[in-house]
């Protein structure tokens, strides 16, 4: 369970969150909100990638000093070095977090042929696959996926859903077409209640 207490986040004088409180308790949760209201910003904060905020983020009632250690995020908002190949990016993640090489995920996503392609040269669908594998290979207790099905083909969405059904982590996603995720047990929750 993730609790957000009194979150205040400002982007260039524009408040995105002002005294925002939320409890994300569902094991499989889909956050809903129209574009531009701050879903990706909230995800970056939860994943420990943005520390320019006021307020508390609690994981099972406790603060965690290094949130990125326990939360893996797949999001377009993480700017990967586009001159590195997908293999190099995944190797770096494997090395940094001592994760096993995600052989099975790569095979199931049919991503082998693109491992030696530079991230910047990948299609948007393959970039999304790379982001998803990069986050899911870490096996963290919290998994946050920002628009996980965007740009993916049907077969890859099916593979993703099959992974998420059995995934032991608390999985939080944002998605504008949530039905396939609701079908496998995701519960929707508006960003602002």
């Amino acid at each position: 369970m993730i609790e957000i207490k009194h979150l205040k986040k400002v982007y260039l004088h524009d408040p995105v969150f002002s005294n925002y409180c939320a409890v994300l308790s569902e094991q499989k949760l889909c956050i809903e909100a129209p574009n531009g209201l701050g879903k990706s910003t909230l995800f970056r904060i939860i994943a420990g990638l943005d520390d320019a905020f006021h307020g508390d983020v609690l994981f099972d009632g406790k603060q965690h000093p290094v949130m990125q250690q326990i939360v893996a995020l797949a999001s377009d908002s993480i700017a990967f070095p586009d001159f590195l190949t997908a293999r190099q990016l995944l190797q770096l993640t494997a090395k940094s977090w001592a994760s096993p090489w995600p052989e099975l995920m790569i095979r199931q996503m049919e991503f082998e042929a693109f491992l030696d392609t530079r991230y910047g040269a990948l299609s948007s669908g393959n970039q999304k696959k790379c982001q998803l594998i990069n986050a899911m290979m870490r096996n963290t207790p919290y998994l946050v996926l920002d628009e996980p099905s965007a740009a993916l083909d049907h077969a890859s969405v099916d593979v993703l859903l099959s992974w998420l059904i059995h995934h032991p982590a608390q999985v939080i996603i944002s998605c504008h077409e949530p039905q396939p995720f609701i079908d496998i047990g995701f519960v929707t929750q508006p960003l602002f209640e």
Partner: protein
């Protein structure tokens, strides 16, 4: 097709304005500090070109020619994205049936920006046709200037190899005519050769080897600084021969200028650190990557400083230049907009100490 040329002109002006905004502080500082030298600088350009027309030794003419070719490459590289409208090349093709107008626009804008070519042209015109026939190396040099500039726009690898050949040829060519012919011929041949795909080493990715990949991807960010440092040191070596009595002042200034180039690398490398902060944090490597960035910059500043000290026989006081490096990188990290002022203040302070107390 006029609309396309109007678009290119507008895009050029916008890119140029952005570039000038970035360099505003530096331009202002340079003009403030060195405004009395600006006329000498312009005269120096024509003096150098004059050495190509009338010279005592072919070696001097060849050195001047190479210096100009290197200098124009550094100047034009800074403005290249504005000339070619690099970010929107694909968009151009949605407006055009062929690349003819795209290339024509590139060449016109290059002509506007190529001040060293314009200076040579001005000199050639002022000499008149009859005198120009007696100095055929000047039109030859202008041809080399133009071709080297085109290589910079379209074949950067060819430019690098041609500059390298031109540098070596300074010591091998018997006269300036042969020198120019060899340089231009090499450039032409290298331009048409099939592209080689060299398999560069692929070290395992880490927070240290990451910089190898960055430099491999963006070699110009190191190459232009190396070229600028080389030119500054070369100028220092010439001054050492001409006015050895003033060398200790020039050495300090050259070391400070070189430190300016290399410490400003912090800005370029920060795009990979601060610009990808989320990525590094997601890996838990944000501390390591910042450390390796600082190590890279201090290392390169140290190498540049050592090269200057060894070549120009720097005295003990020049240690103060390298000692200010952490201050410059700290300024770049926290107050990048004040970098020019801080560098200027450091330079003036050290020069004053040198002049007044040592």
């Amino acid at each position: 097709m006029l609309h396309y040329y109007q678009y290119r002109y507008r895009a050029f002006r916008v890119a140029l304005a952005a570039l000038l905004r970035q360099l505003q502080q530096f331009s202002l500082m340079f003009v403030t500090l060195f405004f009395i030298f600006i006329p000498q600088l312009i005269i120096g350009v024509f003096f150098g070109l004059g050495k190509l027309v009338s010279f005592d030794s072919h070696e001097v003419a060849m050195k001047v020619a190479f210096g100009f070719l290197l200098l124009q490459s550094l100047l034009l590289q800074a403005i290249k994205p504005a000339i070619t409208d690099a970010r929107h090349r694909a968009y151009h093709l949605t407006l055009l049936r062929s690349r003819f107008h795209q290339i024509t626009a590139d060449w016109l804008l290059l002509l506007v920006c190529h001040v060293l070519f314009a200076a040579a042209l001005l000199l050639g015109v002022s000499m008149g046709t009859a005198t120009l026939w007696q100095a055929p190396q000047l039109p030859g040099f202008m041809l080399a200037q133009w071709l080297f500039a085109l290589a910079l726009l379209y074949r950067p690898q060819t430019l690098l190899s041609s500059l390298l050949v031109a540098f070596v040829a300074v010591w091998l060519a018997p006269d300036i005519q042969t020198y120019l012919a060899v340089s231009v011929l090499w450039l032409a041949l290298d331009w048409v050769r099939p592209r080689l795909k060299l398999a560069a080493p692929q070290p395992q990715l880490s927070s240290v080897s990451f910089w190898y990949y960055v430099i491999k991807e963006y070699p110009w960010m190191v190459l232009w600084r190396a070229g600028a440092s080389f030119l500054a040191l070369w100028a220092g070596v010439i001054m050492a021969n001409e006015r050895p009595d003033l060398l200790h002042y020039y050495t300090l200034m050259i070391l400070l200028v070189n430190q300016l180039w290399w410490s400003s690398l912090y800005l370029d490398t920060s795009k990979q650190v601060m610009g990808r902060r989320g990525f590094w944090r997601s890996l838990g490597l944000d501390g390591q990557i910042e450390f390796s960035q600082n190590a890279l910059i201090y290392g390169l500043c140290l190498i540049s400083w050592l090269a200057g000290v060894v070549l120009l026989n720097g005295e003990l006081f020049t240690v103060s230049v390298i000692a200010t490096c952490p201050l410059l990188t700290w300024t770049l990290k926290h107050y990048p907009q004040r970098f020019a002022v801080v560098w200027g203040s450091v330079s003036v302070t050290l020069m004053m100490i040198k002049v007044l107390f040592l």
